[in-house]
């Protein structure tokens, strides 16, 4: 059946909800080849089916073949677009969760166009945030309604030095505990460096 490979791209993404699987270059290429071959055949069938004014002649023998061919291209393209689009949506969410620098192993799963898209998106977003207020507003913090000014956190990794907005420098070691202003740790909690202890 046509477009089986294209649908496999979608099945692959759908099995991996919530993570970004490696970009499947081989399968994408195969789908593109199928589209190209079908499209060329459709063009030649289309020329045979069309009458003088370019309208399909329903009684032409190849008319049904063309119908199937056109449907197959449309389906392939839809799957291919959906594969790429849904990957961009995940990447977009990653920008909000990891910040503008992606972990190397996430980056390794992207193709070069996706890396380019990510930095474009990141730039647009930064530009938008800079346009807010007089000196810009970071929309990546204040994610949940505030409850208290200070919270206790546990550091989950050996992070190294971290400077607070008042200039104090903390050394963040794995399993160290800190009592900090909520606004100072929110990003590190989102990024999984700190764990909020309730």
């Amino acid at each position: 059946m046509f477009a089986e490979k294209a649908c496999n791209l979608i099945k692959e993404l759908s099995r991996n909800e919530g993570v970004l699987p490696p970009y499947n270059m081989d399968l994408v290429k195969e789908v593109c080849t199928e589209i190209k071959l079908l499209d060329e055949q459709n063009k030649s069938d289309g020329a045979a089916v069309a009458n003088e004014s370019g309208i399909a002649n329903y009684s032409n023998e190849l008319y049904p073949t063309l119908r199937v061919g056109v449907a197959a291209v449309k389906r392939n393209v839809r799957c291919l677009m959906a594969y790429h689009y849904n990957r961009l949506r995940t990447l977009r969410t990653m920008r909000w969760e990891f910040g503008s620098v992606l972990p190397p192993d996430v980056k390794a799963n992207l193709n070069s166009n996706e890396i380019e898209w990510f930095s474009k998106y990141s730039r647009s977003l930064t530009k938008y945030m800079m346009s807010l207020g007089d000196e810009g507003l970071n929309l990546g913090v204040n994610l949940r309604p505030p409850k208290s000014l200070y919270i206790e956190v546990r550091c989950l990794v050996d992070y190294g030095k971290y400077e607070l907005s008042d200039g104090t420098v903390l050394l963040l070691k794995k399993d160290s505990r800190h009592f900090l202003p909520r606004s100072e740790c929110e990003e590190l909690i989102t990024q999984g460096v700190f764990q909020h202890i309730v």
């Binding site: 059946m1 329903y58 049904p64 073949t65 449907a71 990024q191």
Partner: protein, 203 residues
Amino acid sequence: MSYNSSYSPNYYSMDDILATQERIPCKFLQKVPRMGRLNPSTEENDLKEGTDLELPLWLAIDCSMGRQPVVAPELPKIFKENYREILKADANAVDLHKFSLYFYELGSYVKGFDHRQEVHNILLHTFITRFRLIMDLANNSESDPSIQQKLDMLERRIYAAGHAAASKLNKWLLESGAQLEAAVLVTNHKKRKRVDDDLIGWN
């Protein structure tokens, strides 16, 4: 998404793409030159007029429309009378997932060739009857995975959203709440890393 949105398929919707991959029985109304390969049980180059074949929904839709349809689609058996009777008798007892993973979506696509609206009615009847089941399942903190298995995809999405909200509410009722958490993708990323690390450890 942080604002409310329920399932409403669009061009990129993976659920809709997978739903339209379901196969339905069709009869070819015309000979289709060079498309013999659509029929796995023949070696012929052309597909003969009158051939009965199960086609994926996307192809059946595109080829059955217009002034000169190429195929005539038929109701899949799960929407025929025998099956409708089972659903009418006790929709709650049915393993809908076994009928079709995309029962409602498939039904919505094919209900058009049942002029007496029986399919339309059975879709609504089934959904409405099973709502209590889904709601109770969502409110139950220890939900039985075997019951979830009996839901179709649409029901599963509603169940999952309802269950997530109910868990948050229960958590809120029990404790002070408002814990700040790592982002979902970050957590998944870490989990996966751990799995990868394990694999390396075994090698």
